[in-house]
């Protein structure tokens, strides 16, 4: 592990996305070694143990949920959605960066995506897995969740296609499927590398199976590139569609604070914002622990910070417009909703949200702070918290005081809500730890195209998987 840079180096705009001095061999060695040679490291073991313990907490919480009923959560009437949907939207939002980095940046030929796309995609998948738990677990009768799918059945019943929840089912399941395909297809050449370099029989067998007979022939590469590009094209609309449809869960309803036309772009921006914050939260410690500063350079961090700043401003604009429209609509209920956010019983959370999502990220205007890993890490954590608060404000604070004051109520998560939330973090982290231990967290073959040699003598070396 190389020591962290003590002071930000002078990063020029055109600094390369890979530190100088790397060859094809050194790239493959460096990334492959994390999986093949380093074995189980102590830090990894401690981290995985904690994450796995939290995953067991999730199992316990969910078992108890099914055994006792969702009454163990804090939801009630009027606040019938609480932590469940807050966390669902939060996790789905986090899952956005992966696809954006993989697909859109690929199509836009943003080369800097190369070193972060693999684990950003993995993170997406794991976040979607976490998110997927909530819509099922929050049902009164989760064992009947399959009724949301349109399948031929003896009841002669179809789902209600007017309901955004049905759209959600399609949006999220499509997103999960395509994200997985994209991630897995991208892994194939690297899996072949691992197969070839693995010294254990088991390793060779498993990586060999997963590599699906990849030999690195020109034909393979040709088909691979086509498939990858097609998948990128498929994924691109999904970046927009998933969170748009998630936002319809709210925008289609009549609840003041939900019923807003700005929701789709505002939610998508928020999702990318949260997603990049999470990528940064993970990348900063990872590159340090595994000594990957050469591949995930400060320029990467700088770029991601800029995306965060930009999307953060879109989100801030969203907050502004919500308030403006509440006034402009001249609707008593809308105006009350905003007043209630500002000064109601949950106002502390609202102002914390404004701090986290609007004020704190403004430090990213300063290059010095963008390149300071400590600041960046802190900001990304603050944004993650802010985005969670945003969903809490939208869902809980809108519901708790809607139309008839007689029905107004209060909501607070119970320990079971928290256990489930922390438990999904355990699931997320467990999967992530397994991922960095057993799969190359940076795309080896793509990194090799970044090595200066690749530019010089592209034809002679391209596509070789040694």
């Amino acid at each position: 592990m190389s020591p962290p840079p003590t002071s930000p180096p002078d990063v020029t705009v055109r600094q390369p996305f890979i530190e100088p001095g790397h060859t094809f061999e050194s790239v493959t060695d460096k990334i492959g070694a994390i999986v093949l040679d380093q074995g189980v490291r102590r830090g990894w073991l401690i981290g995985f143990t904690i994450s796995f313990a939290l995953l067991m907490l999730l199992l316990f919480a969910l078992t108890n949920l099914v055994a006792q009923g969702i009454g163990i959560w804090g939801i009630n009437v009027p606040v019938a959605w609480g932590f469940d949907i807050v966390n669902f939207v939060w996790w789905i939002g986090i899952g956005h960066a992966g696809t954006l980095i993989s697909a859109i940046l690929l199509l836009l030929r943003q080369q800097w995506r190369t070193s972060i796309n693999r684990f950003a995609e993995a993170m997406t998948l794991f976040a979607v897995a976490c998110a997927g738990i909530y819509p099922i677990a929050h049902l009164g009768r989760p064992w009947l969740a399959y009724w949301l799918f349109p399948y031929p059945n003896t009841m002669g019943m179809w789902p209600n296609f007017r309901s955004p929840l049905v759209w959600d089912v399609f949006a999220v399941s499509t997103y999960a499927t395509v994200s997985f395909m994209f991630w897995f297809v991208g892994l194939i050449p690297d899996l072949a590398t691992l197969r070839d370099r693995s010294e254990s029989r088991v390793g060779r067998f498993i990586y060999g199976m997963l590599a699906m007979g990849w030999r690195g022939s020109a034909l393979h590469w040709h088909r691979y590139e086509t498939a990858y590009l097609l998948l990128a094209g498929l994924s691109t609309p999904l970046v927009v569609s998933v969170h748009t449809i998630v936002s319809f869960d709210f925008a289609v309803s009549v609840v003041p604070g939900w019923h807003a036309t700005i929701f789709p772009p505002y939610f998508v921006a928020g999702a990318i914002y949260a997603g990049f914050a999470m990528v940064l939260t993970l990348a900063i410690p990872l590159r340090r622990y595994y000594g990957l500063q050469d591949f995930i350079t400060l320029r990467h961090l700088d770029n991601m910070a800029r995306v965060m700043l930009a999307t953060g401003l879109v989100v801030a604009y969203g907050y502004m417009m919500e308030t403006f429209v509440a006034w402009y609509s001249a609707s008593n209920y809308e105006a009350f909703m905003v007043t209630n956010r500002f000064f109601g019983p949950y106002n502390k959370l609202y102002w914390a949200l404004i701090f986290c999502n609007v004020i704190a990220p403004q430090v990213l205007w300063f290059k010095k702070l963008r390149l300071h890993q400590g600041w960046l890490f802190l900001t990304s954590i603050i944004v993650s918290i802010g985005m969670w608060l945003e969903r809490y404000i939208i869902i809980v604070v809108s519901l708790h005081r809607d139309f008839l004051p007689s029905s107004w109520g209060m909501y607070a998560g119970t320990r079971w809500d928290w256990a489930t939330f922390v438990g999904t973090m355990g699931l997320f982290m467990s999967l992530l730890f397994l991922f960095i231990r057993f799969l190359p967290m940076i795309s080896i073959f793509e990194m090799r195209t970044m090595v200066p040699d690749a530019k010089v003598d592209e034809d002679a070396h391209a596509g070789g998987a040694h």
Partner: protein
């Protein structure tokens, strides 16, 4: 297998009896193993030979395998069969001749009456295959007129309460009835010599002629014995007030139909008392702004439903009401002298009020509150006489009680006699004095001195625990009896079901005490047979009476009254020129609108029904005004220690706008120790601090704040309408000027502003209106809905978590200044929107629109996303967060309406407009090849409503009542601006304030 023919093999004897016992003790799989073992046992073949000689030779011969198996199988089977234990002979029989009128699946209705505190309300009870499930009012009965109060609605749950006392017990042992009668005979035999000097009977208020006859017989047999009556809900002040002003006992009834001006002197005549249903029905007739609307003035300490409905309400301390009444009497010249120092805020009110009363002589009523002082009652009598109301709007009659007593004095006499050791035998019938007597009487300790203590009660309660004998009382739905209503009409109480637990009625116990134990049926029939001897054809009369639910022309006749001389002297002495009793805090005890005096403490429906003004459930609290709370630095749920004459009580505080300052109101009936699993330990027992001389209003109470808080469960946390036009209200003048004022307030989207053609509703289109001008928020509809729709009780914690399940709730808002707010009530069932927001968002089509415009909820299909609830602007949907329904208690299963699905965990539910009743009516109408008639479908809430505020019917029928109420100018939609187009709409409230007091 041993060879039975071989004599050298000793074969142990095996006989059929032995086999039988052996097999009888084996069960299931073990049974079949026993059979195998048996077949291999030595001696089996001998047995076979003995039992089945014809098959035996085959066994003895060498047999082939196949034949052997056949024989063996048959033999084993036969042996097994004959080994079965014989069942006791219980003959079951199909209906060879079906009982008349019973059609499975169709309910029958029987007339009966429910006594509370000895006063009956005529009822019709719905019975499904022999089990009563739903109470309705008897339209022919003068104290019901087809409606009921919440207590009657909830009594069906009381019948099936699994915590009811189920066995006769003595010293913790279960004993037979004969053992009790023997013990009673023995105890009474010892009293014969002294003429019953040591014999006392304690009952609640008794109006039953048959029972009165039984008691009279006992009193004749033991001339020195005493009959005491203690009824915690007895109207002692009314009794004493009548004696004070008139010098005689008299009961008072009011004809609100004929009254233009009503003055309530701390009287909650619309929300409590035996005449509440009739009062509310009569009163509501005069709250229609189209007709001649009455005007109600209320002077009260803590807001009641009556005060909330009043056109003018003034909050004064309960102890100041007498002074107020005196000042009013002085103003009208009824009292010989006026009080001095009348505060200016009273003076203005009283001047206007007196003027209004004088303008409506003979068409006004002054109603004194039951818990007010006798002086207030005396003043009310004098005022009503002076205003010429008596005989017109105020009817005085002989008391309806068989023997009118001053209940508290009667109890005190008994306690004194017990303390003096003069009581040897005490029969406490249908009363629970240990829990209900004020603390200073120390009833429990004095009771210990009685040699023979027997208690008859529905529950094994606080009193039962201290008695030698406890006998379970038969519920009124399972016993024979008779009872008089508050205006005297006699009803025969006929049982709907045989006693579930071998309970006995008071009548049957009295008959046993008289030495002639008989069934209730025989007793009642014999009494009335005797009475009707001269009229002849008793059977016919009996059947008619039972069918109609009342004996006609038994209402008490009006009686002439006049004021005594010097009646006002005591009042003047009492006050000595002072406005009220004390400068400090007063404590007012009130009967609870849920549990009354505690007798309904174990009834979950009533415990969970939000109290009309406070919206509290599952607890009582010290109600105080906002100003008093500020002065004493108190907040809701703070626990305070109340001290009165050295007795202390810790109780949580609840702040009620409109409460009089320096007045604390505390409901009786809580803090029960042996009420049952539901009622034990709910709230605090006000009787621990209450004294018999200050039974309703205690002056000189001190209050100390403690550092503790106690969580209270309320169903409504927010009390302001936030400037939204939810309950729309106008004065009569404004209404006359603009009858459609309610619709002017909010602009609703035009119905044709849509791309889609309007949905045609062919056939029926169900709709409902709720008249907010007459609704007082009494909870009858809430409990009726509970009973009709199998709605579970969720308990205090779940209510506090916001998960109550009632399908119809009554919203209550305070508007205006907190010292004297306007209080409005608004019942909110499902609105059955035509553009229902819930329907669009359900992903599985579990809530869909019916062809008749109902918003149907399909429980089977619901997966529980709760999205519909979030999207319901009215928040009328209720979710089963847990398995709330009790699926295991057998007796509760009997209580359920078989026409309504019992919902389980994880599904949404809500008001259905009683779709089961609609279906029933549709089936009947189709069989008769006609449309459903108007009034044929009545929802449970509409049926129970004493004010007749809820009207339901077919909107497509222009002649239907609901079509007419919808056409009323006052009709408006709640949140109509959302374009939900609710089928349930409201008729705006109108009040009729006195222009002179409008400032």
């Amino acid at each position: 297998m041993s060879d039975p023919t071989n004599p050298t093999t000793p074969t142990p004897a095996l006989d059929l009896e032995q086999v039988r016992t052996e097999l009888a003790s084996a069960r299931g799989r073990h049974y079949w193993r026993s059979l195998d073992e048996l077949a291999n046992r030595p001696g089996f073949d001998a047995l076979m030979a003995r039992e089945f000689p014809r098959q035996a030779p085959g066994l003895l011969d060498a047999v082939d395998r196949r034949q052997f198996m056949q024989l063996m199988g048959a033999s084993l089977a036969l042996a097994g069969l004959s080994a079965c234990t014989r069942q006791p002979a219980e003959t079951i029989m199909p209906y060879v001749k079906a009982p008349e009128d019973i059609i499975p699946g169709r309910p029958l209705y029987f007339a009966t009456a429910m006594p509370i505190g000895g006063i009956g309300t005529g009822l019709l009870v719905e019975s499904h295959m022999g089990r009563p499930t739903k109470i309705e009012g008897n339209p022919d009965h003068p104290s019901s007129l087809g409606a009921t109060d919440a207590f009657a609605q909830a009594s069906v749950l009381g019948l099936y309460d699994p915590d009811r006392s189920q066995v006769i017990s003595s010293a913790g042992e279960i004993r037979p009835w004969s053992a009790f009668t023997a013990a009673l005979d023995q105890a009474l035999a010892a009293q014969t010599a002294s003429g019953g000097a040591g014999l006392r009977i304690l009952t609640d208020n008794i109006t039953s002629p048959t029972l009165a006859g039984q008691i009279a017989a006992l009193l004749t047999k033991y001339p020195n014995s005493h009959w005491h009556q203690w009824d915690p809900i007895a109207r002692d002040s009314a009794r004493l007030g009548a004696r004070m002003a008139l010098g005689v006992d008299a009961d008072v009834r009011y004809r609100f139909v004929d009254a233009d001006v009503v003055v309530a002197l701390d009287a909650d005549f619309l929300g409590s008392g035996p005449a509440q249903v009739r009062n509310l029905r009569d009163f509501s007739v005069r709250r229609k702004p189209g007709g001649s609307m009455n005007r109600l003035y209320a002077v009260e300490s803590s807001p009641t439903v009556t005060g909330a409905r009043a056109d003018h309400r003034m909050a004064v301390k309960a102890s100041a009401v007498e002074f107020f009444a005196w000042a009013l009497a002085g103003q009208l010249g009824v009292a010989p002298q006026k009080p001095k120092n009348v505060p200016p805020e009273y003076a203005k009110w009283i001047a206007a009020l007196a003027k209004d009363l004088m303008a409506h002589r003979g068409r006004s009523i002054v109603v004194p509150g039951d818990h007010q002082s006798p002086g207030v009652h005396a003043l009310a009598h004098a005022l009503n006489i002076a205003l010429g109301n008596v005989g017109k709007t105020v009817i005085c009659t002989e008391p309806v009680a068989a023997q009118p007593v001053y209940s508290m004095a009667s109890l005190k006499e008994l306690v004194a006699a017990m303390a003096a050791g003069q009581v040897d035998v005490l029969l406490m019938l249908g009363t629970n004095p240990v829990a209900t007597a004020p603390a200073d009487l120390d009833f429990a300790a004095r009771l210990e001195k009685v040699g023979f203590r027997a208690h008859l009660g529905l529950y094994d309660d606080e009193t039962a625990q201290l008695c030698h004998w406890h006998i379970p009382e038969a519920h009124y739905l399972e016993s024979w009896g008779d009872v008089r209503s508050e205006e005297g009409t006699i009803s025969i109480i006929q049982p709907l079901i045989a006693p579930l637990y071998d309970g006995k009625s008071v009548l049957e116990v009295m008959a046993a005490a008289n030495g002639r134990p008989q069934s209730g049926y025989d007793l009642v029939r014999a009494f009335w047979g005797d009475k009707r001897k001269a009229a002849g054809d008793f059977d016919r009369w009996w059947r008619t009476t039972l069918h109609d639910g009342l004996i006609p022309d038994t209402a008490l006749a009006p009686k002439a009254i006049g004021v005594r001389s010097n009646w006002i002297d005591t009042i003047i002495q009492n006050h000595d020129g002072k406005q009220d009793d004390t400068e400090g805090l007063e404590l007012v005890y009130r009967l609870d609108s849920g549990v009354l005096d505690g007798r309904f403490a174990n009834n979950g429906w009533l415990q969970e029904a939000p109290r009309p003004i406070t919206k509290l459930t599952w607890d009582n609290a010290a109600l105080i005004s906002p100003a008093t709370a500020r002065r004493l630095k108190l907040q809701n749920e703070d626990v305070v220690e109340l001290t009165h004459r050295g007795r202390k009580l810790e109780v949580p505080v609840w702040i009620v706008p409109g409460n009089a300052d320096d007045s604390i109101t505390l409901a009786l009936g809580y803090g029960r120790k042996r009420a049952g699993r539901v009622g034990d330990g709910v709230g605090v027992d006000a009787n621990l601090i209450r004294t018999s001389d200050a039974a309703w209003i205690a002056a000189g109470v001190t209050l100390a704040k403690t550092p503790r808080t106690y969580p209270l469960a309320t169903t409504q946390e927010h009390h302001s309408m936030e400037g939204r036009h939810l309950v729309r209200e106008a004065t009569l003048a404004e209404y006359t000027h603009e009858p459609a004022f309610a619709r002017e307030l909010v602009e609703e989207p035009a119905k044709d502003m849509t791309m889609y053609p309007p949905h045609p509703y062919e056939g029926a289109a169900w709709g409902m209106t709720i008249d907010l001008a007459s609704c007082v928020g009494c909870n009858a509809c809430v409990i009726a809905c509970n009973a009709e729709n199998n709605i579970p009780v969720v308990g205090k914690e779940q209510v506090a978590a916001g998960r109550e399940m009632q399908w119809i709730r009554i919203d209550r808002y305070f508007e205006g200044e907190e010292t004297n707010p306007t209080i409005v009530h608004q019942p909110v069932p499902c609105m059955q929107c035509e553009n229902a927001p819930c329907e669009v968002v359900c992903p599985v089509n579990a809530t869909v629109h019916s062809s008749e415009g109902l918003n149907d909820m399909v429980y089977n299909r619901c997966v529980g996303t709760k999205y519909c609830s979030n999207n319901c602007p009215y928040k009328v949907r209720r979710f089963n967060f847990f398995k709330y329904q009790d699926w295991t208690t057998e007796s509760l299963k009997l209580a359920r309406n078989p026409d309504v699905t019992v919902r389980s965990y994880g599904v949404m539910e809500k008001c259905t407009y009683c779709v089961q009743r609609i279906s029933q009516a549709r089936i009947v109408s189709r069989r008769e090849d006609r449309d459903v008639r108007d009034g044929e479908v009545v929802t449970a809430c509409a049926q129970a409503c004493p004010a007749g505020s809820i009207v339901f019917g077919d909107l497509n029928d222009p002649e239907s009542r609901v079509a007419k109420t919808k056409a009323d100018a006052r009709n408006y939609s709640l949140l109509g601006d959302l374009n939900t187009r609710p089928r349930t709409t409201y008729l705006a409230s109108v009040r009729n304030p006195n222009p002179e007091l409008e400032s």
